[in-house]
Amino acid sequence: MGKFVKIEPIRRDLAAIISGGRASTALVDKIAYARDLWPRHHMLVRGGEPAPSPPGIVVWPGDTREVAEIVRYASERGLPLVPYGAGSGVCGGILPTPTSIVVDLKRLRALRSVDAERLEAVAGAGIIGQHLEDYLGDRGFTLGHFPSSIYCSTLGGWIAGRSAGQCSGRYGKIEDMVLGLEMVDGRGEILRASQGGPDEALLPLVIGSEGTLAIVTEARLRVAPAPRERRFAAYEFPETIEGLEALRHLYQAGLRPAVGRLYDPFDSYMARRGKVKGEPKGGAGAGGQAPGLGTRLLVRALRRPSALNELVELVPSKLFGGAMLILVWESEPSLAEAELLEAKRICAQLGGRDLGEGPGRRWLAHRHSVSYRQSPILAGGGFLDTMEVAATWSRMFPMYLAVRAALAPHVFVMAHFSHAYPDGASIYFTFAGSRSSEEESLAAYDRTWKAALQAVTDAGGTLSHHHGVGRSKAAAMRREQGAAIDVVRELKHVLDPQGILNPGTLIPLEPAS
């Protein structure tokens, strides 16, 4: 696509394809669709760049056929397309160019069917997660997928990023829930793939491809009966490593608590604080609050991350309440009870102190609050981000230590372990920093990420467990993936020969070696 592209004729052509003519070049739309929730974008916005790279056009197709026509149109002209759910990704997966067409899929939001016997549901990719859960709940079912972004993320976005929810210990990740997909590839072909069908292999290839191979328009999903009741348990362990041992033993013993979350001592302290200041009743969180004195002081302290990390290291773990493990079961009650008894035995044997049901119940009440803690720090001039990586159990604690050590000179860091499996787990690092100017903050943010990703790959971990790669991790992909990156490039040639689907995300911009 050349530099001088007349956008208005393209908008008219696309409006003719789409029911209701929903295609826009309005500045307000271009600004709204210029980015996702990558914290680096937030810092640019704070620095006065609300839309560093706005798209040329935003379109709102009404069905799969319209999506296919849009893709064919763009493919014939070499126009880049950026599939868009709710824009809540945190890795820079959305970054259009002035000639990009952003394809917002939120009109594809119907819950088409629920099969109560086979426990399956079919839904449009643009449905907001909480709406999907509400519709299923009305019928007595759950998808079991509860990312903290559930209010502002879509089914299609979950599929694009291989998302995980808080109850992954029972229901798995989104890839475990998808039974079939309808999608449009980069040639504008409508493809359908189902588990057990001839194109079954396409499912794990497209899931997690971050919109670079196909635009998912509809999914057939495995659902479960909505939990009739829950069982809760919580344990305090003297140190993180002991809590990790308990988490490993639980899942390797075949127990499947829906929630298994271990917080390191400082994160435990934060988790115990529960809801955020100003949070409305019900725990929905409160974004956009102005920073108070405490936040301003914290942001100032974050300019000396090494000292802050050392200070926290000096505080005995016990003063923070140790490492806290929260367990929640959502299985059929008799199964949950049997598993709870065994979990209690395992935790006690490994030195855990029983904290009763309280911490689990409190966590559930405020389960989506944590994301909303970012706003005051950002508003106060600091920066904050999260990094979710994964490793096998034998590499878990060394990786935890290595990443902490790599981050400590740059930012203040804490972590929890929120998705466990028989063979390993995910570590969710939260880090915060601050510098005296916006430029220095951006440079420090980039250095932090580089150091963290290097530490993860050196420790034998994988760069992402459920946020995806986007642009924030793309540069490090070669180090983890090696020649696999080139296989993915070839796969993209097959499904998107013009390379128009979400270029620049996931696959690092470098020539194939």
Binding site: G172, D199, L205, P225, E332, L335, A390, W393, S464, V487
Partner: protein, 295 residues
């Protein structure tokens, strides 16, 4: 002009063996495989990967010299093993450590490379236990000789899951040389079997068993002349096992299932090798334009 077998014999001494109907290439390392692929491509010849259908005139790659157990990570319960080893050999190693692959004995026969190329038939299913995975990572050689590495990790979100393209591809995407297999503990076990007059009822029962959180170790739906049989294998500690068994029976009986002795249950029919998907075929052609692996 020399044949490929003669060229390989010279380049890789003692790696060529004449089989009953075909010529075999017996590499000892990934480098041997990469060199053989390079030489075959230069000749415009083909090497038949483990698990591929026989091709007249092609030299068959046989990984019997690559069957070492490279390591057993007892903490993660992951065994790193070369692809020439059989699943049965891995199972023997694991049993000494009170671990298991959790597969039926009759499914353990194939070498791992062939098992993956043929679609991992008989392997544990994520449908039964969504957080379980059997293959945590692998090593392979691409048609151009480059090494492909998928490091072992519980679950990753770093793009497409390439294992999906390799599994069941008949070796056309890559030649798998080593695998990280996830084992599980050997726990108390119980097999249950039910007969249903209505196949839909059997399918619904299995969906609800999974949906209520039972997590069978294995399951099978088997069409019969009278309807459908459902076989369920449970593995758990005593109290949990009993709770799961009770629930399975309740769910099955509520849908008209009649419990039978497992010994009377119909056998699981052998699965046909899955057809290679059109997308995987197209990918194979791009990765192997000279067709050395048969793409």
């Amino acid at each position: 002009m020399k044949t490929l077998a003669e060229i390989l014999e010279r380049a890789l001494p003692r790696c060529i063996q004449q089989g009953r109907d075909e010529t075999l290439l017996l590499p000892s390392t990934e480098s041997d495989i990469a060199l053989a692929l390079e030489l075959a491509a230069a000749q415009g010849a083909r090497i038949s990967p483990p698990g591929a259908a026989p091709v007249e005139g092609a030299i068959r790659l046989d990984l019997r010299r690559m069957q070492d157990i490279l390591s057993v990570d007892e903490i993660s319960r992951i065994v790193h093993v070369q692809a020439g080893a059989t699943l049965a050999a891995v199972e023997t190693t694991l049993r000494r450590r009170s671990l298991t692959l959790g597969m039926a004995a009759e499914s353990l026969e194939p070498p791992i490379g062939e098992w993956i190329a043929g679609g991992t038939r008989g392997g544990r299913s994520g449908e039964d236990d969504p957080i379980d995975q059997m293959i945590a990572g692998l090593q392979a050689v691409l048609a151009d000789g480059r090494a492909l590495r998928i490091r072992p990790a519980p679950r990753r979100a770093v793009g497409p899951d390439l294992l999906a393209a390799i599994r069941g591809s008949g070796g056309r995407i890559a030649i798998v040389t080593a695998v990280h297999l996830v084992a599980r503990a050997r726990l108390d076990s119980k097999e249950l079997a039910f007969l249903f007059a209505e196949p839909n009822a059997a399918e619904a029962t299995l969906a609800w068993i999974r949906g209520e959180g039972v997590f069978p170790a294995r399951s099978a739906l088997i069409p019969t002349a009278e309807g459908m049989a459902l076989r369920i294998w449970l593995e758990a500690k005593g109290g949990i096992l009993a709770a799961r068994e009770t629930l399975v029976r309740r769910l099955a009986e509520a849908r008209g299932g009649v419990g039978i002795e497992p010994a009377e249950a119909p056998p699981i029919p052998s699965e046909a090798a899955p057809a290679v998907s059109g997308i995987v075929e197209a990918l194979a052609k791009r990765l192997d334009p000279s067709g050395v692996l048969g793409a």
